[in-house]
C-alpha cells in the first residue's frame, strides 16, 4: 500500500491533530490534515494500526469509490478527459450541496479542460505533479493515495479528482455549505457587550475566537470522535499559560470516548466530567465567544464541537456558574452587590421551600407571632399538609417551566399566563393551596431565574426537592442534614484536579477577587490559583 508522503511523525492512534499556531492558516486546515487513517464512516477506535495497512482496504479507483458511494443521489461522479485527451481520463467526485458548484466550475473544471499545459503532459503522474504545483488554482489541495482518505475528503465536502491508473486522487476543499450567519446569542444576552455568538460551523467559530484573540500562542487542536459522524472537535488553549496537565487529561478522556455520534454537547460533557452521578454541571457551556475567550485567558481549556453553536469550557468550578457575562461590563461596585444578591438568592432558591415546611410544621415558635397568625389565616380551610402543598406547587411550577420550554414562544407565554395567573388564583380561591405557599414558591422560582447558568439552576431545582423532603421529616434538623450532605457532595468533587468549590476551598481564601464580590480589574492580580496556570499573574508576559 502507498503511504502518505511526508508523513513521518509517529501516529498517535486514530487521533488527527493539527496544530495551528498562527492566525493565517488556510481555511480548511482539517481537510488538509496530515493524515487520516480512518476508514469511511470513521472507526473512532482502531487497534492502532494505520488504516493503510489494513487488509480490507480497497484500491483507490473510481470504481471502488463509486461502489461505496454510488448509490447516493447527492454524490456526483463526472468522468472527464483532461484537455480533451482521451488517454488522460479523470473522475471528479463531490457531494452536491457541500461543495460550492460555482467554484468547482471556475477553479477546477475550467483549468482541467482548458489549461493547455496539462494537455502537454504525457502521463497521469505528471498531471498530478503539475496540479500540485498550482495549475489548478485552489489553496487547499491534497494528494491522496489511500481509498479511506479520499472517501473521507469527499464526504467531508471536498472535490476529488481520481486518477485510476496511478490509484491517486487529488482533493480540493471547496466547501460551499450554506450555514447560518453569526447572530445574537439567544440564551446569554447582555446589554453592554458583544452581540455575536457561536454558529454551527467549527471553522467559523475558531475564526471568531481568533478574531478576538490575536495571539500567536493560542492553540486550536483538532480531533475526531464519533464512529458514525466523525465529528471534529477543537481543543482551545494558550500555550505557556494553560496548565498542560488539564489539556493532556482532556485529550486522554476524549480519546477514550467511544460513541456513535456527537450531535450534542451532552455526550462530550459526560465523557469528560469526573463525577457522573452529580447533578451539578462540571463544565461551563456558553454560546458567547467573548465568555469563551475570557475563560481561556483565565487558564481554562475550551472545546468547540463541529455542528454545535455551543462551546464547552473546562474545568467548571462553582464560582463560574454564578458569574454572568454582564458582570464585567458594569461598575464593580454595582456588580459586587448584584453578585452578592445572586449568591443570596442561590440559598433562597435552594432552601426556602424546605425552610417554610420546617418552620410551619415543626418550629412554629420561630415565626414572628403576627406572621404566624397571618400564615394560619391563609391556611384556614386548606385540607393538605404544608409539605404536600409545597411539593404540589413546586411540581406545578416545574410543569409550567417544562411546558413553556417545549411549546413555541408565542404559545409558551399563554401557558404561563394560564398556569400562573388563572390556575394559581383559582387554586388559592378553591382553598387547594394557601396564598403563603404560592408566595414562597414564587419567590423560589424567581430566585432560581437569576442563576446565570441553566445547568446549575437545574441542579438547584433537584436539591430543592431533596431539602423539602428532608424538612418534612424532621424539620430544620433535616434541612441541616441535607445541607451537610450537599456541602459534602460539593466539597468532595474535583473537576480535572481542580476543587469544585474553588476559590472558596483551598488557596487560603486569597483568590476571592472574582467570587462573591467582583473586585476592580486592577485588583485582580492573579489568575485562578486552583487552575494551576503556568502563567500565574494576570497581564503577566509568558
Amino acid at each position: 500500500m502507498l503511504k502518505d508522503p511526508g508523513k513521518d511523525r509517529p501516529k498517535r492512534r486514530n487521533r488527527i491533530i493539527k496544530k495551528i499556531d498562527t492566525a493565517h492558516e488556510p481555511e480548511n486546515s482539517m481537510a488538509s490534515g496530515t493524515g487520516s487513517e480512518e476508514a469511511p464512516g470513521g472507526t473512532a477506535r482502531t487497534d492502532g494500526t494505520p488504516a493503510g495497512q489494513s487488509e480490507a482496504e480497497p484500491g483507490l479507483t473510481s470504481a471502488n469509490v463509486e461502489g461505496l458511494l454510488g448509490g447516493n443521489s447527492d454524490i456526483i461522479f463526472r468522468r472527464l478527459h483532461i484537455n480533451g485527451r482521451k488517454d488522460l481520463p479523470v473522475t471528479m467526485v463531490f457531494v452536491d450541496g457541500m461543495a460550492d458548484t460555482k467554484s468547482v466550475d471556475d477553479y477546477i473544471l475550467k483549468p482541467l479542460i482548458q489549461e493547455s499545459s496539462l494537455g502537454e503532459c504525457s502521463s497521469t503522474s505528471e498531471i498530478i505533479e503539475r496540479i500540485s504545483h498550482g495549475v489548478i488554482y485552489h489553496a487547499a489541495m491534497e494528494v491522496r493515495r489511500t481509498f479511506a482518505e479520499c472517501v473521507h475528503d469527499i464526504v467531508g465536502g471536498s472535490v476529488a479528482l481520481i486518477f485510476d491508473d496511478v490509484k491517486t486522487a487529488v482533493t480540493f476543499d471547496i466547501k460551499g455549505f450554506h450555514e447560518r450567519s453569526i447572530s445574537e446569542p439567544t440564551g446569554e444576552n447582555v446589554i453592554k457587550g458583544a452581540k455575536d455568538s457561536f454558529v454551527e460551523n467549527l471553522r467559523t467559530n475558531t475564526a471568531s475566537i481568533r478574531m478576538k484573540m490575536k495571539n500567536a500562542r493560542l492553540v486550536i487542536e483538532e480531533m475526531k470522535t464519533g464512529k458514525q459522524t466523525a465529528t471534529r472537535i477543537a481543543i482551545v488553549y494558550i500555550r505557556g499559560l494553560t496548565n498542560m496537565r488539564i489539556v493532556d487529561e482532556l485529550k486522554r478522556r476524549l480519546d477514550n470516548l467511544d460513541t456513535d455520534a456527537v450531535l450534542s454537547t451532552g455526550i462530550i460533557e459526560e465523557a469528560i466530567i469526573d463525577h457522573k452521578v452529580s447533578p451539578f454541571p462540571q463544565v461551563i457551556t456558553t454560546e458567547r465567544p467573548d465568555k469563551f475567550c475570557s475563560s481561556i485567558v483565565e487558564g481554562r481549556v475550551g472545546i468547540i464541537i463541529d455542528g454545535l453553536p455551543v462551546s464547552i469550557v473546562i474545568p467548571g468550578t462553582f464560582d463560574a456558574f454564578l458569574q454572568a457575562p454582564e458582570d464585567y461590563s458594569q461598575s464593580f461596585i454595582v456588580n459586587s452587590i448584584i453578585r452578592l444578591m445572586r449568591y443570596a438568592l442561590m440559598f433562597v432558591t435552594l432552601f426556602l421551600p424546605g425552610f417554610y415546611i420546617s418552620v410551619s410544621s415543626f418550629h412554629i415558635e420561630m415565626i414572628p407571632t403576627d406572621l404566624a397568625l397571618a400564615i394560619t389565616a391563609s391556611k384556614e380551610g386548606v385540607p393538605f399538609l404544608t409539605f404536600i402543598e409545597v411539593i404540589f406547587m413546586l411540581l406545578a411550577f416545574e410543569v409550567l417551566v417544562e411546558a413553556g420550554l417545549r411549546l413555541p414562544k408565542t404559545i409558551g407565554q399563554a401557558v404561563s399566563v394560564v398556569g400562573a395567573v388563572v390556575v394559581g388564583q383559582a387554586a388559592v380561591d378553591a382553598r387547594l393551596v394557601s396564598p403563603a405557599v404560592v408566595v414562597i414558591i414564587a419567590i423560589t422560582a424567581i430566585s432560581s431565574f437569576t442563576m446565570p447558568n441553566q445547568d446549575f439552576s437545574n441542579a438547584l431545582r433537584l436539591w430543592r426537592f431533596i431539602f423539602a423532603i428532608f424538612s418534612s421529616i424532621i424539620g430544620l434538623y433535616g434541612l441541616s442534614i441535607g445541607a451537610i450532605i450537599l456541602l459534602n457532595h460539593l466539597s468532595s468533587m474535583e473537576v480535572f484536579g481542580v476543587p469544585y468549590l474553588s476559590p472558596f476551598v483551598g488557596g487560603d481564601g486569597k483568590n476571592m477577587q472574582d467570587a462573591i464580590f467582583r473586585f476592580p480589574f486592577s485588583a485582580q492580580k492573579k489568575r485562578p490559583m486552583s487552575l494551576r496556570t503556568t502563567n500565574k499573574r494576570r497581564r503577566g508576559s509568558v
Binding site: V277, S360, S361, F362, I364, E365, T369, A372, L373, A374, I375, T376, A377, K379, E380, V382, L385, T386, F387, S472, I473, I474, G475, Y477, I481, I485, N488, S492
Partner: protein
C-alpha cells in the same frame, strides 16, 4: 467500590445523626400551623383548694366571609383549673379542635394572691416547658386576680396583650417600667443575695375613651414595680419611684424631668442618656457604695418667656435636675434598705469588686450588710445639647 463505601458511610452518618440526638422520638410528628391555637397572654392565679387557675388569651385571624378582604383579629379568653400549672395547661386541650400552643406566649400575669403565695411554684412549668419562650415578659397584678385583668383588659379591638405591649413601650418614653423576663426572674431567684422585682400593673375603670363611644369597661395601667422577698410579694414601688429604680438598674432609655426655674417658670428636660456606676469600697470597716449617675439631657420645652440660655441658668437647671434624680434614687435605696432587700443589684457590684471577701464575709448575711451599707449618691446631670437655641416667645432681650 469507592461509591459503595461512600454511600455506606453516608447512610451511617445520616442514621447516626438522626438516632443519636437523645430524642426518644426519632421522627417527631409535624404540627400543622393551622391546627394550633396561639396563646398570647396567660394569667396565673391561686384558686381555692391550693389549685392553680390559668386564664389564657388566644389570638387568631378570621376572614369576615364574603369579599375575602375583610380579615379580623379575634381573641378568646379561656379559663382552666388544675392542681398544678401543667395540669391546668393540659386542661385547655379539650376546649378547642386546635391544640393550645404556648410557643407564642408573650406575657405572663401573676395575680396578687399567687404572688403572695410565692411565684416560683407557679412559674416553674413555664420555665421548664420547652415550648415556651424564656424571654417572655412577666407582670404582677396589683389588687386583682390576673384572670380578671386578662378577661376585662380584652376589648373588642384592643386585646390584653396589645395593652401590655403598649405599657412595655413606656420604657422608651418614660423609663418607668423595665421589662423583666422569665429568664431574669429565674436567675434572680437562683442568686440568693438578689431580690426580685417585677413590673406591676393594675386594672382601672375606663372613665373616658378616646372615641367617646363607650365609657364602660376596664383598662390596664402601669402601677410601678413589685418587689419580692425570696419568691413572695413583699411590697410595691409606686409609679413615681419606679424611675429611681431604673436609674439604679442602669436601664434608663429616656424620661422627662420637670424643673422649675428661679422665676417660677418651668423647663422640661428630656433624658437622652444615663449611665450608672456602682463602686463599692470599705471605709472604717463599713461597706460604702458610691453610686455615680451620669445623665445627659436636652431642653424640650420652656414654659414662660424666660430666656434661660446663659451659663448661669443652665448650670442652675443642671444642679436642680441632678438633685431631682438624686432624690428619686435615694427614696428607692431607703426603701430597699428598710426592707433589707437588694433588688437593684448592689450585691453584684460588691461581688465583682471583692470576690474573696464576698465569699468569706458578705455572702452569708448580705441582707444585713446591705441594710447597713452607706450609699453615696452623686449625680452629674448635663445639658449637653439644647436643640434649637431659640429664645422663647416673648423673651425680653431677644438677641
Amino acid at each position: 467500590m469507592r461509591y459503595a463505601k461512600a454511600v455506606t458511610l453516608l447512610c451511617f452518618s445520616i442514621i447516626g445523626s438522626i438516632v443519636m440526638t437523645g430524642c426518644k422520638i426519632v421522627f417527631p410528628s409535624p404540627t400543622q400551623i393551622q391546627d394550633i391555637e396561639f396563646i398570647r397572654a396567660v394569667g396565673i392565679d391561686k384558686a381555692p383548694g391550693d389549685k392553680v387557675k390559668l386564664t389564657i388569651a388566644t389570638q387568631r385571624i378570621v376572614s369576615g366571609g364574603g369579599g375575602g378582604g375583610s380579615e379580623q383579629k379575634i381573641s378568646e379568653i379561656v379559663r382552666s383549673e388544675g392542681r398544678t400549672g401543667f395540669e391546668a395547661a393540659r386542661n385547655f386541650w379539650g376546649y378547642s379542635e386546635k391544640r393550645p400552643f404556648f410557643g407564642h406566649l408573650e406575657y405572663i400575669l401573676i395575680g396578687e394572691e399567687a404572688a403572695k403565695d410565692g411565684i416560683l411554684k407557679y412559674l416553674d412549668f413555664f420555665a421548664r416547658d420547652p415550648e415556651i419562650r424564656l424571654n417572655l415578659d412577666v407582670f404582677v397584678v396589683q389588687g386583682n386576680e390576673a384572670g380578671d385583668v386578662v378577661r376585662m383588659g380584652n376589648a373588642r379591638d384592643k386585646f390584653v396583650f396589645d395593652r401590655l405591649e403598649g405599657i412595655k413601650k413606656h420604657h422608651w418614653g418614660l423609663s418607668m417600667i423595665n421589662e423583666v423576663d422569665l429568664m431574669e426572674i429565674m436567675y434572680i431567684l437562683d442568686a440568693e443575695y438578689l431580690s426580685l422585682y417585677i413590673p406591676c400593673v393594675r386594672l382601672i375603670r375606663k372613665t373616658e375613651s378616646t372615641d367617646g363611644s363607650s365609657s364602660e369597661g376596664m383598662d390596664i395601667e402601669l402601677q410601678g414595680f413589685a418587689f419580692f422577698e425570696s419568691d413572695k410579694l413583699a411590697g410595691h414601688i409606686e409609679r413615681e419611684m419606679a424611675r429611681g429604680l431604673n436609674f439604679l438598674k442602669n436601664k434608663i432609655k429616656s424620661g422627662v424631668l420637670n424643673i422649675p426655674t428661679k422665676n417660677g417658670g418651668m423647663v422640661v428636660l428630656e433624658i437622652i442618656s444615663s449611665s450608672r456606676k456602682m463602686k463599692p469600697h470599705l471605709k472604717d470597716g463599713k461597706l460604702h457604695i458610691a453610686v455615680e449617675i451620669d445623665v445627659s439631657n436636652n431642653i424640650s420645652e420652656i414654659q414662660g418667656s424666660e430666656d434661660i440660655f446663659d451659663e448661669e441658668d443652665l448650670q442652675y437647671l443642671e444642679t436642680r435636675s441632678g438633685q431631682l434624680i438624686k432624690d428619686e434614687v435615694r427614696k428607692v435605696i431607703d426603701l430597699a434598705q428598710s426592707k433589707k432587700l437588694d433588688f437593684f443589684g448592689a450585691g453584684d457590684a460588691v461581688l465583682h469588686k471583692f470576690p474573696g471577701l464576698w465569699e468569706d464575709v458578705f455572702e452569708k448575711d448580705w441582707r444585713e450588710i446591705f441594710a447597713e451599707a452607706v450609699f453615696e449618691i452623686t449625680v452629674r446631670s448635663r445639658i449637653s445639647r439644647t436643640y434649637d437655641i431659640k429664645q422663647p416667645v416673648g423673651a425680653k432681650d431677644i438677641k
